[in-house]
Symmetry: C2
Subunit: 207 residues, 2 copies
């Protein structure tokens, strides 16, 4: 079923505005970027901009949400295909480099998120909510691992925090210093070390 032309055009305009905003925020920073610059970079009118977004703040929040939604989808896909929790975690570590690579060009943008988060309560919620969500995601995963016997009876809360902290640290270091290490290897073996620390004796037979 093809979309109505007007709806399709509206979606293209919206996507162009978001792409232009990434470019402007990364280059100039959030504060120095105005709606006019985003419009000029996107080749759209201010009217078109405000038809889609209430403010540059709305655009900023949507950029955070969109990136996180794509990461979420990827993690869920990998987990669904894994035979047990340790395998799921190792597969997540394997795709980490592509998540990092995707993030690389966006370093200035992430730093803008974090910087604004320390000043703006709404951005703070949008930036910290995902950490808390990822924490819950990994906490449940660890609980599943303990139930299936692939992990020993560790504290799911702490292990989840360790996994999230490791991911955040690798993301930031890999983004700031791509040549500083083989980040792909570090992610894979790092998760392997954490798994060696928490692995149980029994493992669920592969499905």
């Amino acid at each position: 079923m093809t979309k109505e032309p007007r709806q399709k055009r509206a979606q293209e305009t919206r996507a162009r505005i978001l792409a232009a905003a990434i470019e402007c925020f990364s280059r100039e920073g959030y504060d120095a970027t105005g709606v006019s610059e985003i419009c000029a970079a996107a080749g759209v009118s201010k009217g078109a901009f405000y038809h889609h977004f209430a403010s540059k703040h709305t655009v900023f929040l949507e950029l955070i949400e969109t990136w996180l939604a794509s990461v979420d989808a990827e993690l869920a896909r990998l987990l669904a295909a894994a035979s047990d929790v340790p395998q799921g975690l190792l597969r997540m570590a394997e795709v980490a480099p592509s998540i990092f690579a995707d993030a690389r060009g966006r370093v200035p943008l992430f730093l803008e998120f974090w910087r604004q988060a320390s000043r703006d309560p709404e951005v703070w919620r949008a930036t910290t909510a995902p950490y808390r969500r990822y924490h819950q995601f990994f906490e449940k995963l660890v609980e599943t691992g303990i139930q299936e016997g692939s992990l020993r009876a560790v504290d799911p809360d702490v292990v989840a925090q360790v996994i999230v902290a490791l991911a955040v640290g690798l993301l930031l270091q890999g983004a700031l210093d791509p040549q500083g290490a083989d980040w792909s290897k570090v992610a894979r073996e790092g998760v392997g070390i954490v798994l060696d620390g928490v692995r149980g004796h029994a493992t669920k037979p592969s499905a």
Copy 2:
């Protein structure tokens, strides 16, 4: 031996400028802060400022160096007092919360460092060099642990990256979301989990 009054006064002026710069950079951001504002906040003349620092950029770099030097000194002190590498690592994890607490009020400043690092090669070097230095520090520590038999024959490079990534991740999350977890517990037990993954069978008797 008391210091010469003039020298003492000079040191106090320097310290006042640095403290005022932390305050201004944290509140206004690096770009929006001028030398005049730092001088006003410090209660010193521009002449006094330029007697001590070539530019606000120099002040900024010195703030990074000073904080890192204090962290280094603390890590070295803990290590010297530990009987073996696992104990040294656990003690470092125990002081992590105070390093985090010290960092907490400086979040906007760290984010400024990282943001400027993505634009300014000199700040980039000043910001990434410490990660590489900490990496080497922990790499040597892991090598020592393998030699003394407290750690099994792991890859020191990878374990060091994991430790640094964990520390960076905890620092950022703890700073952005102090109420999000018991970061002190997470640091201690997180290092414990990594140690469980890399611990050797023999342990050096305590000194």
